[in-house]
């Protein structure tokens, strides 16, 4: 019996130093075995995946690169029976229609104006997106405050000796970017205000926000655009006319603001009450509490949702086509009608190009949002 008592007692005599973990699965082969072939289901899935890649990628490369026609002046260069070989993408079509796809029917001698606008926008946006570049505040003021005004006068003209260009002749990527950037830049602050309004203690503010959000979320964007373009003028005095593009812009901005509001509200709900109380106990007022403490955390949480809305908005801009504003895709479809380029591969080439362009923008936004998420993660790391 006394033996048991002895066995119960234990005291460590020597502490163990931390050791490296065992290296059972190292190197590329180890990784493959761990991740791709570690069970028979995984083996099947890996093989199926490889088969799919083999099914899709080689024909795509063949169409886009190997069989593609790179030079030409007309449809004859892209017809298999004329060229005497299999014909893939007809790139000269894109080349010849490129300026139409980018500028629409903007007067060609004034291309420098959209070009300058693009250049200015890019020059201001890129340093804004790179965290280490200094003067963020000034940069933001320039991009969000000054740039829209400059861009407006550059593109529309009518002042400083610039020739007036009606928005009716705008088109292509220019319109797509104008609509998308305006929608994106306007919808975030509007959405934040609506989200705060919906959680407000003041019944009037809350009521207005709820009505606004539910109304705009309840109607399709096409209805909004139709209404703005064709119905609104009927209700307005005859001599009162608002530019068609502007009406579409406002429609898109308000529409996406309603979606944004709900995304932001989701983030606000995730912030614990203690954060509000911590701020209040320090005597910090409502707006400063929201701006300095609650929103930075809430927006960080919903970055995926925000970027999701941005990407959706970017692609939805193409709906302006139905109210006779020819954005990038609209110009592409107009270009298809050119008999000079009607070949079997024109349609595929055009849509492949459009797909690539949209993908670059959307994938760019997606990757950038991941980068921002990782960067802002520091505050919560345990």
């Amino acid at each position: 019996m006394t033996d048991e008592a002895v066995n119960l007692a234990f005291a460590r005599t020597k502490m163990i130093d931390a050791m490296a973990p065992p290296r059972a699965a190292a190197g590329a082969i180890g990784w493959l075995r761990m991740n791709l072939f570690n069970s028979w289901i995984n083996v099947l899935l890996t093989l199926a995946g490889l088969y799919l890649i083999w099914l899709i990628v080689p024909p795509l490369i063949k169409f886009l690169l190997i069989d593609a026609v790179w030079d030409g002046a007309g449809r004859d260069d892209c017809l298999a029976e004329k060229v005497g070989r299999e014909v893939g993408a007809c790139w000269p079509f894109i080349q010849k229609k490129f300026s139409q796809l980018v500028y629409g029917f903007y007067p060609s001698d004034l291309y420098w104006r959209p070009n300058l606008t693009f250049a200015l926008g890019t020059a201001l946006l890129i340093p804004l997106l790179i965290p280490n570049v200094p003067y963020k505040g000034l940069n933001a003021v320039l991009f969000f405050g000054v740039f829209p005004i400059v861009a407006f006068f550059l593109l529309v003209g009518g002042v400083f000796g610039l020739e007036h260009v009606e928005t009716r002749v705008w088109g292509g990527l220019l319109v797509t970017l104008v609509v998308a950037v305006t929608g994106i830049v306007a919808s975030l602050p509007l959405g934040i205000m609506l989200a705060l309004g919906r959680r407000s203690q003041l019944p009037v503010v809350r009521f207005f926000s709820v009505i606004f959000i539910e109304f705009w979320r309840g109607v399709p964007l096409i209805t909004v655009l139709f209404f703005a373009t064709y119905m609104l003028p009927l209700f307005m005095p005859a001599n009162w006319s608002i530019d068609a593009l502007l009406r579409a812009l406002v429609g898109v901005a308000l529409f996406s603001a309603a979606y944004m509001a709900e995304v932001v509200r989701g983030g606000l709900q995730a912030i614990p009450r203690g954060q509000y109380e911590g701020a209040q106990a320090l005597g910090i007022g409502y707006w400063k509490m929201m701006g300095l403490i609650v929103l930075p955390q809430a927006l960080k949480l919903v970055i995926p949702g925000i970027v999701n809305t941005f990407i959706g908005l970017f692609k939805d801009t193409t709906l302006v086509m139905i109210v006779a504003i020819f954005d990038f895709l609209g110009q592409l479809r107009a270009a298809f009608a050119d008999p000079n380029w009607s070949t079997p591969s024109t349609l595929f080439t055009g849509f492949a190009f459009a797909g690539i362009v949209y993908f670059i923008f959307c994938f760019g936004m997606s990757r950038y949002s991941l980068f921002v998420e990782r960067r802002l993660d520091t505050g919560y790391r345990r």
Binding site: G274, Q275, A281, G283, Q297, Y380
Partner: protein, 275 residues
């Protein structure tokens, strides 16, 4: 017997009526000496009567420890003092300012009353230093340099100046709570409220936070502390208040409170926690 004790003014300490939790006649409210005055305060959550006829007068430099079973209204009471909770009846005067619906006055009071929470409530997206300088810069309009110097001073006082540039998530619970104390001190408060500051901490970290609070008490800060750390109460409190069912049941100097509790409920409570 218990009924009369609970509803009428407690007979705790006839030897020191000025600091007892007796209903205070209004003429005694001199803003100079009195830090907090609560008179006939009632509060309801819906139909639930959480605070019932709270009468409490706290003088400057006084240290009060509030204890009682959970749900007795301790936290609610001290949260009424900086209006994190609204009271529906009675009056609360903090540093000469009566708390009403006037938002300006509420912010005025909150600037002068620091609070430390059970769950720290640090701002996780800001560094320790930024946590401490945020309110001085944005509320007190202090220049950044000055605010940072003041923050470093208080971080040294709570003995964690070396953590200034870390984020709260990288610190231990005890360190976070000390940052929370420093953050409150940066506003130069006249009164400090502590709402169970050690309840969420690992046992090994309780002491470092209590040491900081003892230090603060010795420096003469007016403190209201909701806690069950009876050692702390014995060491620093001028007065211990026991609450149950939304009422102040007993108030007395710690020596008397622990050795000769008057009320049955107090005796029961003390026998449960002091084994």
């Amino acid at each position: 017997m218990a009924e009369t004790m609970a509803t009428s003014s407690p007979s705790a300490g006839p030897n020191q009526p000025a600091t007892g939790a007796t209903p205070v006649p209004k003429m005694q409210t001199t803003t100079n000496k009195v830090a907090i005055e609560m008179a006939g305060v009632h509060k309801w959550y819906g139909d639930f009567h959480v605070l019932r006829d709270i009468n409490l007068m706290v003088e400057r430099r006084e240290r009060i420890v509030i204890c009682g079973p959970s749900g007795s209204g301790k936290s609610t009471m001290i949260r009424c003092i900086n209006r994190l909770e609204e009271h529906q009846q009675g009056r609360i005067v903090v540093d000469g300012v009566e708390l009403t619906n006037d938002l300006k006055r509420i912010d005025e009071v909150r600037r002068e009353v620091g609070m430390v929470f059970q769950h720290f409530n640090l701002f996780p997206h800001l560094t320790v230093l930024e946590n401490c300088t945020l309110a001085p810069i944005w509320v007190r309009k202090m220049p950044r340099r000055e605010a940072e110097e003041a923050a470093m001073h208080f971080l040294r006082r709570v003995k964690i100046p070396e953590q200034a540039n870390k984020y709260p998530g990288q610190l231990s619970g005890g360190q976070q709570q000390r940052v929370a104390i420093a953050r409150a001190l940066c506003m130069n408060p006249k009164i400090m409220l502590f709402d169970e500051p050690t309840s969420a901490l690992d046992p090994e970290m309780v002491k470092e936070v209590l040491d900081t609070m003892v230090q603060l008490a010795m420096d003469g800060m007016t403190m209201l502390v909701v806690t069950h750390e009876m050692g702390f109460a014995r060491q620093v409190a001028n007065r211990v208040i026991f609450m149950d069912a939304g009422q102040i049941i007993e108030a007395n100097a710690p020596q008397e409170f622990f050795s000769h509790p008057q009320h049955e409920r107090t005796k029961l409570f003390l026998s449960q926690i002091l084994h």
